[in-house]
């Protein structure tokens, strides 16, 4: 069998490489952008980036891990509250307190996983929702942080965020604008880390395992994939990163209440909307989805209930006519994959890699 030595594995494609380079350029542009654009653009970008992060994480759970959670607001909320607690009760600098958000999300995720992993499909979905409600109701009893009323970051805290002074000096902007720039940079770091991290995972053993479990759990176990551990890993990872994102979002808002921090609509429903419109189970989908979502939101936001009415109808229409999402539509037409993960065997006797 010596002639077999010529077989090798490849995931690289030309579009993939081009897309990688484009991503690097975009990131570089993203870093220097605050020097050139207005504050409102930075804020819009912050919103886009944080929603994209949440969308990528939810896509990791549902699209790759088969874990259709409708309770991600639990981790956004707990992350945000932990950050507030760190600032208000322990006097931490808000930037460090964001890390507390990740820790708190992890602590919540462990018992949550114990519970919801006993459930399947729709039960799992409702289970996560109930856990999120329970968390919200419990946090709403935490009177030191305002109970159901909520609370705000104290002025001293928002005024002394690490790095804000440097940014003020660098771009010669007001304090509030400097805070936005800092939050934007952190969001950029988070979205690059999350998207890059997910892509890395998918190209790793874990990617194969996820796909195998998604396709057929019983068979996956029979080839040695530890489906249970895999779900744990994905769930904990997604929870921690969701917690960090939640902390960052509310650092920028500077105000929190249980209803806002644990809002099903804002942190899960819209996120699901983004992922599904864009195309679930792909890295490209959430990116496209968040852009579409943002355009719709900006275009319709001033029409009151008509905005939400149309959003609902658009969601229905997309599901009816493009169930694999817009990216699904594009990539099935053009065969385009910006983030290729398919491992191909290259060598003699193999039919063209289609």
């Amino acid at each position: 069998m010596t002639q077999l030595a010529s077989y090798r594995l490849t995931t690289r494609t030309r579009t993939g490489t081009a897309a990688g380079l484009a991503a690097l350029v975009l990131i570089a542009v993203g870093i220097v952008l605050p020097a050139f654009v207005s504050r409102s653009v930075i804020q819009d970008l912050f919103y886009i980036l944080t929603m994209l992060t949440l969308a990528q994480l939810w896509n990791l759970l549902a699209g790759y891990g088969g874990l259709v959670s409708v309770g991600q607001q639990a981790f956004v909320g707990i992350g945000a509250y932990a950050m507030f607690a760190g600032v208000i009760l322990a006097g931490w600098n808000p930037v460090f307190a964001i890390l507390l958000g990740g820790v708190a999300a992890l602590i919540l995720a462990i018992p949550t996983a114990f519970f919801v992993f006993r459930l399947q499909g729709a039960y799992f979905a409702i289970g996560t929702w109930v856990i999120a409600e329970v968390t919200r109701l419990l946090v709403a009893q935490w009177k030191t942080l305002g109970g159901g009323t909520g609370t705000s970051l104290p002025r001293e805290a928002t005024g002394s965020i690490l790095g804000v002074d440097a940014i003020r000096a660098l771009f010669s902007v007001r304090e509030a604008a400097a805070r936005d720039i800092l939050a934007y940079w952190l969001a950029l770091v988070l979205v690059v880390a999350v998207t890059g991290g997910i892509y890395w995972l998918l190209r790793n053993r874990l990617g194969l395992a996820l796909a195998a479990v998604r396709d057929n759990t019983e068979a996956a176990k029979s080839v040695g994939v530890d489906a249970g551990r895999l779900k744990w890993a994905v769930f904990l990872l997604a929870s921690v990163a969701t917690g960090l994102t939640g902390a960052l979002i509310f650092l920028q808002t500077a105000r929190i209440s249980p209803d806002a921090a644990f809002a099903l609509t804002d942190w899960t429903a819209y996120v699901v909307f983004i992922v599904v419109i864009g195309g679930i189970g792909t890295i490209e989908g959430p990116i496209l989805g968040v852009i579409v979502f943002f355009i719709l939101r900006s275009a319709l936001a001033d029409y009151g209930s008509w905005y939400l009415l149309s959003l609902g109808i658009i969601a229905i229409v997309v599901m009816l006519f493009a169930p694999r999402g817009l990216w699904g539509l594009i990539s099935s037409r053009s065969g385009l994959h910006l983030f290729p993960v398919r491992r191909r065997l290259a060598g003699p006797k193999i039919e063209g890699g289609h």
Binding site: R118, A122, V272, M319
Partner: protein, 287 residues
């Protein structure tokens, strides 16, 4: 006896939840459809009944009788035109569609009826009560509970004693093979949703007579309904009633400790049941 009173009120409250849940249980059981718009459909039906009462001057019960066939047709159309096209192995598309529907209904109602809270006037029935010695119970909650039982008995009879019910169950197992038996799965689903909407009308009647409602109150009702369905076990309608009662009783006892624990206690009861029995109290042999 506060303890007995709390228990009785909890059971009666459970009847209301079971009523919210029965239609959901039907649809969830037959087509695994997680209908996130269920709560909003109840509210929609409540407005329909309200229109009957306020425009035509009917009694709420007569208005509900008129609303029921309208809701049946709407359910039929909704299923045929929209939901049938997204049903499949994947639970996500219907999840998203019904979420979209939920938002659309809420905001459509808001446009049509504004955010004012409304109520279906039930005259003397509203405050009427019966003194049973140990406890004083409202006539309305009793009526609600009795209706929940009636609805469940009726649905069970359809499900297990009629050819339609057999078709429901077969279609729920395997649509392609059901087709080979001469059953049009899409028609069966449409009938099921229509039927669920009739149950929704009953739920709406009591929702509207018991408390105020406005276009935004749907989702809060939805979660309890889901909990009742899941606690009971997929496809078990008596289980759904049991689930409703468990949540109702947990809530009244939780509230007796401290009102802060009211809703929390219901959710925790749900979690505890699932911890012990992940497929609910009365699961079907095969899912």
């Amino acid at each position: 006896m506060i303890l007995v009173d709390t228990l009785v009120q909890g059971i009666l409250l459970g009847g209301l939840y079971a009523l919210f849940a029965a239609g959901l249980s039907l649809v969830f059981g037959i087509m695994r459809l997680v209908n996130l718009a269920h709560g909003d459909l109840i509210v929609f039906a409540a407005y329909l009944v309200l229109l009957g009462v306020s425009l035509l001057g009917l009694s709420p019960f007569v208005a509900a009788l008129l609303a029921a066939p309208i809701m049946f047709v709407l359910g039929w159309l909704l299923q045929s035109a929209v939901l049938n096209r997204v049903l499949g192995k994947d639970i996500l598309p219907p999840l998203l569609v019904t979420f979209g529907l939920s938002i659309a209904i809420q905001n459509g109602l808001l446009e049509a009826f504004s955010a004012d809270s409304r109520r279906i006037p039930a005259g003397a029935l509203e405050g009427a009560s019966i003194n049973l010695g140990i406890v004083t119970v409202g006539v309305m909650p009793l009526l609600t509970f009795a209706s929940a039982i009636a609805v469940i008995v009726a649905l069970n009879a359809i499900f297990y004693q009629t050819a339609l019910g057999r078709a429901f169950r077969a279609t729920s197992d395997d649509t392609v093979t059901a087709g080979l038996m001469g059953i049009e799965p899409k028609r069966i689903f449409a009938i099921a949703t229509g039927l669920a909407m009739v149950v929704v009308t009953v739920a709406a009647l009591y929702l509207g007579m018991r408390a105020n409602f406005d276009p935004s109150v749907g989702p809060a009702r939805l979660l309890y309904a889901f909990e009742a369905v899941i606690i009971g076990g997929l496809g078990s309608l008596w289980g759904t009633l049991a689930g409703g009662i468990i949540i109702g009783v947990a809530q009244t006892f939780g509230a007796a400790i401290n009102p802060e624990w009211q809703i929390l206690a219901g959710h925790i009861a749900f979690l505890l049941v699932l911890l012990v029995k992940p497929r609910g109290l009365f699961p079907r042999a095969v899912d």
